[in-house]
């Protein structure tokens, strides 16, 4: 088990390495230039040249890449062009807020999607199934920022139940932190719930066709027992893995939600970083998002292994 986790994490190293190349190439391929972004279009050419030299942008690309990579390995992601602060320092400040939001969104999403998906899956073809499946289609087609704005208008501005935006660290004021968390997590959760509900429904429907299910019925087991001990138990391990794969949507959605609700997480750095061509920041963000995705998926696979005796964690 420990060995399995260690090996999975080791396998993540080449993945992260590939990601580092992508991140490095990506910022340089998109049009625009960090120095122009910093100094403006009509700036003194001498100043531009000095800054380029200072930032090491005149060196050959492989040299830039290698020196960046060398620093990253030691945990040094460089200095942000925009704020002149160490990127790692900024990220450490921001990561908890993003994780809190992502977790909140996931919890809301699962609370809505799992019961809905199970209900639809166990009553396939019924009116309830049609309603739920129809609702997921509408949900998939609804943009998150629009939904978030509506929720903000309704719950915060109209009804005044919740603060509309902002952030207070949990350590400072837990109650206020949670109150502020509700709207963004609701938005994020509602945005991913349709995916999760569809995954759940599909898992239940697919497992429902397994010989084990009809055999359990042939043993005279009550439907509730069949659902719990056979259908759910069989589909859960793979469902967990499928849900882990939606963490990509979750992280992408969090970028928009953070912007909308003024939530000081990593997502807000993305838009600013890209618009100002803050190379070290964008590269670091891509790596961190990638790492979160990988860790979540390794955890999901371990859970799958623990829940499904046929999977050997070696």
């Amino acid at each position: 088990m420990v060995q399995y986790v260690a090996r999975r994490l080791l396998l993540a190293v080449p993945l992260l390495f590939g990601l580092s190349i992508l991140a490095f190439a990506y910022v340089r391929v998109i049009p625009g230039d960090p120095v122009t972004a910093m100094l403006g279009v009509n700036s003194d050419p001498e100043l531009v040249a000095r800054l380029r030299d200072q930032l090491g942008l005149d060196e050959p690309w492989y040299q830039q890449y290698l020196s960046w990579l060398g620093n990253v390995v030691t945990g040094d992601f460089g200095i942000s062009y925009r704020s002149r602060m160490p990127v790692s320092q900024i990220l450490i400040d921001r990561i908890p807020a993003t994780l809190e939001l992502a977790l909140g969104g996931l919890v809301v999403g699962l609370l809505i999607a799992i019961p809905a998906g199970l209900y639809a899956g166990f009553r396939r073809g019924s009116r309830a199934d049609n309603v739920i499946t129809g609702a997921t289609l509408v949900g998939l087609a609804t943009p998150g920022f629009w939904l978030g704005t509506l929720l903000m208008l309704l719950l915060a501005l109209q009804l005044g139940w919740l603060p509309s935006q902002g952030y207070v660290p949990f350590g400072v004021d837990p109650a206020q932190n949670l109150r502020l968390l509700v709207l963004p997590s609701l938005t994020l959760g509602l945005a991913i719930a349709p995916y999760l509900a569809r995954l759940t429904r599909t898992a239940v429907v697919e497992t429902g066709g397994e010989p084990s299910v009809s055999y359990a019925r042939a043993q005279g087991l009550p439907e509730g027992t069949v659902a719990r001990t056979v259908v759910l138990r069989i589909s859960m391990p793979s469902l967990i893995v499928a849900i882990a794969l939606t963490v990509g949507f979750l992280l992408a959605g969090s970028i928009i939600v953070e912007e909308l609700f003024n939530w000081p997480g990593m997502g807000r750095l993305v838009a600013a970083g890209v618009s100002e061509r803050d190379y070290p920041m964008i590269q670091a963000l891509m790596l961190v998002y990638g790492a979160i995705f990988i860790v979540v998926n390794v955890v999901a696979e371990v859970l799958q292994g623990l829940l499904d005796p046929r999977v050997r964690l070696t």
Binding site: L221, I234, P237, R310
Partner: protein, 334 residues
């Protein structure tokens, strides 16, 4: 058959799938009886409706399937019109199913012991945990599992194919049902284990008095364990009777063709085994008259008589002994 009333009586059973113009009727007028302690074989090619007949008995037809005609009487009770809850209380308790592939049918994420206990808890809720364990162990021992304690703690995939099948048999027998429905219980196993499982079924019938319906496409296994045999073709019963009668002097050309496709017991094997030419007809468009006629050698030999294409030669409820054929074979001993 013993007693006045058979344990199970099926008459003129028909099962349909689909709606409107897309209706198909894969089981169409099947009838047979099973007495106490009797082993009845149902033989036929895949798709002849034998497994669907079993599922119809259990009230577990796949979605879209429904019984549209006929009657099913078990222990004096009508099962066709029975409430789903009545059927559920019978399933696993009085009528148990032995699946064709226990490896696929057993719950892959539950230990064998748990599956046995779950079924005991459903059908005997008043047993204590210790009694349940005892009964589960007994059942595994009866199914001749070499190390029952270990099997209790094992997940199905940790057992061999034969042990999986024995576990499923234990699961079927632990509630002491009156009838076992064995749906090709040996097809997933290799030949030596097949023979052991067949012997086990006969032993269990002798020890416990459980009647067995044994569904198979392999007519040679019927000879080994069955008292009576029902031969099915294209959703109908084409011949039934005692195993000796039917297998040694088959009267229906289809039965004869099936027997011709396997090597005879003893004697010199023929140069070439026969095959039944062609394919069974489509259940969505059964031909009129005798459904076997298109593949029947006798039909050609006799100069394609009209009766064969115009009228169904069988009985109305499918129960009649003998062959459903206008020109049955006579005195052909194999």
């Amino acid at each position: 058959m013993t007693g006045d009333q058979p344990l199970l009586s099926v008459r003129d059973l028909a099962v349909e799938f689909g709606r409107g113009t897309r209706v198909s009727r894969p089981v169409d007028g099947v009838g047979f009886e099973v007495g106490e302690r009797e082993i009845v074989g149902i033989v036929g090619e895949s798709g002849c409706g034998k497994s669907l007949t079993l599922l119809a008995l259990l009230g577990l037809l796949p979605s879209g399937g429904r019984v549209v005609n006929g009657s099913i009487t078990f222990g004096g009770r009508d099962l066709r019109g029975a409430d789903p809850s009545v059927l559920r209380s019978l399933r696993g308790r009085q009528v148990a199913l032995i699946p064709s592939d226990a490896g696929a049918a057993l719950n892959p994420v539950a230990r064998v012991g748990k599956q046995l206990r779950l079924s005991l808890r459903t059908h005997h809720p008043d047993l204590t945990a210790q009694q349940r364990r005892g009964r589960a162990l007994d059942a595994l021992r009866r199914a001749r599992l070499a190390r029952p304690e270990q099997a209790l703690a094992a997940y199905p995939h940790e057992l061999s194919g034969g042990m999986q099948q024995r576990s499923a048999i234990a699961l079927g027998l632990q509630n002491e049902p009156r009838l076992l429905l064995a749906d090709e219980p040996t097809t997933a196993l290799d030949v030596s284990i097949q023979a052991e499982i067949l012997r086990l079924l006969v032993q269990l019938r002798d020890e416990l008095g459980t009647a067995i319906v044994f569904v198979t496409h392999d007519i040679s296994t019927v000879r080994e364990i069955c008292d009576r045999v029902v031969v099915m073709y294209a959703g109908q019963v084409v011949e039934q009777g005692g195993v000796e009668d039917v297998l040694t002097s088959p009267r229906h050309p289809y039965t004869a063709a099936l027997l011709g496709s396997i090597p005879p017991l003893g004697g010199v094997p023929p140069e070439q085994l026969e095959t039944v030419p062609g394919m069974p007809p489509d259940p969505a468009a059964w031909p009129g008259g005798c459904r076997f006629q298109a593949r029947c050698r006798r039909f050609t030999e006799l100069g394609e008589p009209d009766e064969c294409t115009s009228t169904w030669p069988g009985s109305a409820d499918g129960l009649a002994l003998g062959a459903a054929c206008h020109f049955p074979l006579e005195g052909v001993r194999r």
